[in-house]
């Protein structure tokens, strides 16, 4: 069974016959903004080697400082292994993608056509926001029964407001308005987070509003890191289909990012990222010690990242009973299905319109 591999150590990753091998270094990774004229590795190899079989690798996540060479790049390309790079602070920085595996010229044309037509684009963009909203409401309703008094009232009020936002969705006439509705939905939702987290956790992890670049506090750091994991997970699923990750509908295509992954990630963030965050904070698996402040921003420490990543990986392999296929599928597979649903819509928007994933449990 292929799984993503997450490498936190630094060193040199190389091909060794038909396996991958990490030759570790002992030194700490230096911040990427530390003075560096030579671009040489921060530390010498210490002789420790960890080989691992390439057949088990679905994708690679490099959180350490890793040296690679073109032979490795070729090897990863042949094996169809996408590789995601993170900087010192845990920000996603780059992807190394194997030369395109799946190609369908016709599907790409359809993808572009749906982008170019304002009407068709709006239909898809709305569907992403609608599904994100549905899943947000699902998360809210999950925590609602545990709340009382003022908090319960706040939740009720928010649910009413969200219902208004839902009613506003069909009336949105362009992408900026839709984006505004989306932003409003998230704002309302985030304001409930202290209630979901409970007074103790909320006191340790104060949260006013979402701030991204750089994340202003622990919770923002956690959301950013979780969202970037979600983004790369969606991306590696898109990559297994014939979809072009640069052509998107809710987000503007192609500027800097594979925007289609951002579109689809919206739908899954409530289930995968947000619930993971509540879980990790409420159980105390993550605490303020797992964060540090740099250059006016707040980031997870390496230990913190390890906790999040291992939880993330476990979460992705959790399964649910699929409603139409009569078998169990993992959360990760649900993301693939989402890509397929989009493919179906692009082929036949009338007969098989896309409806975003709705948590059904």
């Amino acid at each position: 069974m292929k799984r993503p591999h997450y490498l936190f150590s630094s060193g040199r990753l190389r091909r060794q016959h038909n396996t991958l091998c990490l030759e570790r270094t002992t030194g700490e990774r230096l911040p990427d903004d530390a003075p560096d004229d030579e671009g040489l590795p921060s530390a010498e190899a210490d002789g420790a080697r960890s080989p691992f079989p390439v057949e088990a690798v679905d994708s690679l996540y490099l959180f350490g400082e890793i040296d690679i060479n073109s032979k490795l790049v070729t090897f990863l390309g042949q094996q169809g292994i996408p590789t995601f790079f993170y900087d010192y602070y845990g920000n996603y920085t780059a992807t190394l993608f194997p030369r395109e595996g799946q190609l369908s010229g016709r599907l790409r044309v359809d993808q572009a056509r749906h982008y170019l037509s304002a009407k068709r684009r709006l239909v898809l963009a709305r569907a992403f926001v609608e599904a994100a909203l549905f899943n947000i409401e699902r998360v809210i309703k999950y925590y609602q029964p545990r709340l009382a008094g003022e908090k319960q009232a706040a939740v009720q009020a928010t649910l009413l407001e969200l219902k208004k936002d839902r009613d506003a969705l069909p009336l949105t006439v362009d992408i900026p308005t839709l984006m505004a509705v989306e932003g409003r939905i998230r704002d309302r939702y985030y304001r409930l987070w202290p209630h979901f987290l409970g007074p103790e956790v909320a006191a340790r992890f104060p949260f006013n509003k979402r701030e991204r670049r750089p994340p202003s506090n622990e919770l923002n750091a956690l959301i950013s890191f979780g969202n970037s994991l979600c983004y790369s997970t969606v991306l590696r699923q898109i990559y297994r289909t014939a979809l072009d990750p640069t052509i998107a509908y809710l987000h503007e295509p192609g500027d800097r990012r594979f925007s289609l992954a951002l579109d689809l990630a919206e739908v899954f963030k409530p289930l995968l990222v947000d619930r993971m965050i509540f879980r990790l904070l409420k159980t105390g698996e993550l605490n303020p010690r797992h964060f540090e402040k740099y250059l006016g921003g707040c980031y997870l420490t390496e230990a913190g990242r390890k906790i999040v990543v291992s939880h993330w990986d476990e979460r992705l392999s959790q399964t649910v009973q699929h409603r139409t296929m009569n078998k169990k599928v993992s959360y990760e597979r649900l993301i693939r299905h989402e890509c397929y649903k989009l493919v179906r819509h692009l082929c036949d928007p009338v007969g098989d319109p896309y409806q975003g994933f709705h948590m059904w449990w």
Binding site: K2, G101, Q102, L103, S104, G105, R106, L107, V109, R240, T241, A242, H322, T324, M325, N326, R333, R336, H337, Y340, K341, V343, R344, C347, D348, V350, G351
Partner: protein
Amino acid sequence: MTTLNPRIGGMLVGYYRLCPRKAWLSMRGLWMEQESDAVALGRLLDDHSYSRDEKHLSIDAEAPDGTELVGKIDRTNLKNGVLHETKKGRACEDSHRWQLRFYLWLLYLNGVTRFNGQPFTGQIDYPLLRRTEPVTLDAEHITELATTVSAIRSIAAQETPPPRLTKRVFCTKCAFEELCYG
């Protein structure tokens, strides 16, 4: 806009006999990712089962309606006049048969016969089941193949995919299941 004159191969004919939607999807380049162990096993069987015979004979022809036909035949035994097709299991037997008949038809259209003037015959090999099944081509099959090829040609021109099969039994074994129902 779509390819109105696709080159049609044996696998596509087999797909079409099973499910027109499957044929349409694969003509669109919407191949399902080759990731399952079953597929890997299939490839292994193909590579190693009969290494001493002549393999992968390519042949093309033109159908009566002008469609270009192409065939890549698994394995031939020219001396005995037998085309072989290796398959893993008998799940889609009928489609296997049509695939092989399609290759026999290509030979027929090219006027290729055995040394003694008799037509080639076919044999499906199921090495895992240790079984073989003979396949022949008769006049009715030839008519049927011509109709099938025309039908594939017309669905290739369709903007939207043919509907899903109403009988789900096939679908649960189909590589496209998640694309259709996910």
